[in-house]
């Protein structure tokens, strides 16, 4: 499980941070990116679809941020 803190970053930076963290990680690894930018809630699932990974789900965290989880293929 890899955590990426992208709170305060605006699009497309949360997705870029997620993609950087995904580089070199083993298949099956779950990555969770925490963001405050609403666009990331659309763009993380879209990133997973476009890059062949799996979007697992979204959870609202304390302080109004969103934790978005993907599983690497």
């Amino acid at each position: 499980m890899i955590q990426v803190d992208a709170r305060g970053l605006l699009c497309p930076l949360p997705v870029i941070e997620l993609a950087k963290a995904a580089k070199g990680a083993a298949p099956g690894t779950e990555l969770t990116v925490t963001c405050t930018d609403v666009a990331a809630r659309l763009d993380v699932p879209a990133w997973a679809r476009m890059t062949g990974h799996t979007f697992v789900g979204e959870k609202e965290t304390d302080g109004g941020a969103f934790a978005l989880t993907v599983r690497l293929s």
Partner: protein, 371 residues
């Protein structure tokens, strides 16, 4: 080069000449009783007859409004008002803000958004289910979408609304003058600027059977303060010109959009959206992974290329496009092209040369990983 012709387009020579003739002949207030006024009124009536003809409506059921936005608002408010006892509006999730704002305002928020699939088509089963509840004042569905170009399956939609006796309001503001006018509607709305007329004219047609009540006490129910006579004349001429050249323009722009769609889909990390076949001939939208939409527009503008975008950072609200969100498309790095009839193959070629270079540079600057 201007590749953002969705909602506005350069005026042709013929349209500008019509506007100038309108200024010379149609300067008087059409509501008065003298000869000058009657001349203005005759110009408006001639334009109205041309719109009626294009829409398959009767001239007395065609109304002019000072903007397409106001036209949508008045149609929704007035049909809703005539449907007493029914207090819910159905609208596709990708309708224009003007439609949704009016619907929410008139129903105190009692609006059900109909989901669309990944290509932008309304979920017909959901529409049928919602129409089973006898509280629906009207259904609002676009003819075609202004951002992704997808054309709705209006025949099937109108079959459902007609069977439920619910008025169907069709927003044709992105389609009139580009593809044949929709045949199935109880009310239809068009935007003159979108088909290459001057900005500042919305048109509405109602069926004789469509009940509509004025909601505002302003005398002229559709155009408080009136519409521009020269603008309306020029809009009718622009529409006429588009209709005369529709077949050849459609074939040329459709092929150009196909070329752009194919090229964009071959670039790494690019998501081309909208229905590839059931679509408007002139609109193409795609999103580029790891690219800031605002930087993309600015870079293209520096190259002399004007495009649109649905990315959050390019919008006044900093919210990503509701249309892109509804179809599950990538919302950042979004480019939306609207091709007007004057766009050349050479311009499309230049766009296709410049675009991947800018995307690569912006990705590098943002420190994005390789795709």
């Amino acid at each position: 080069m201007f590749l953002d012709a969705s909602g506005s387009a350069p005026l042709t020579k013929r349209t500008i000449e019509a506007f100038q003739a309108g200024l010379a002949e149609g300067w008087a207030d059409p509501a008065r009783l003298h000869t000058e006024s009657r001349r203005s009124l005759a110009l408006l009536d001639g334009a109205r007859a041309a719109f009626a003809d294009a829409l398959g409506a009767r001239p007395e059921h065609v109304h002019l409004a000072p903007s397409a936005h106001l036209a949508l608002e008045r149609v929704i408010a007035g049909i809703n008002a005539a449907r007493r006892g029914r207090d819910r509006i159905l609208a596709s999730a990708i309708e224009r803000d003007a439609t949704l704002h009016a619907a929410r305002h008139m129903t105190a928020g009692n609006v059900t958004l109909l989901p669309v699939d990944s290509l932008g088509h309304v979920d017909l089963d959901r529409l049928a289910d919602e129409l089973c509840v006898p509280d629906v004042a009207l259904a609002a569905v676009q003819h075609g979408n202004h951002e992704i170009g997808t054309l709705q399956r209006l025949e099937a939609i109108a079959d459902l609304t007609a069977a439920a006796r619910v008025p169907l309001v069709v927003d044709a503001t992105a389609t009139l003058g580009h593809v044949p006018a929709p045949a199935r509607w109880d009310a239809v709305v068009g935007n003159a600027a979108d088909w290459g007329g001057p900005a500042g004219l919305g048109i509405v047609a109602l069926r004789p059977s469509t009940r509509w009540l004025p909601v505002w006490p302003e005398g002229d129910d559709w155009a408080p303060g009136g519409v521009s006579v020269p603008g309306t004349l020029a809009a009718a001429v622009a529409l006429q010109e588009r209709l005369e050249t529709m077949a050849t323009t459609d074939a040329r722009l459709r092929a150009m959009v196909d070329r752009i769609r194919t090229a964009a889909a071959s670039w790494p990390g690019v998501d081309v959206v909208g229905d590839p076949d059931e679509r408007l001939p002139h609109i193409v939208t795609f999103s580029c992974l790891y690219v800031d939409g605002e930087a993309l527009l600015t870079s293209l503008d520096r190259e002399g290329i004007a495009v649109g975008s649905g990315s959050a950072c390019t919008s006044s609200t900093l919210e990503p496009s509701r249309v892109l969100a509804s179809i599950g498309a990538l919302s950042h790095g979004n480019v939306r092209l609207g091709l007007h009839p004057g766009v050349t193959e050479a311009q499309a070629t230049r766009f296709l040369e410049v675009m991947p270079r800018i995307v690569a540079r912006l990705r590098e600057q943002a420190g994005a990983p390789a795709l």
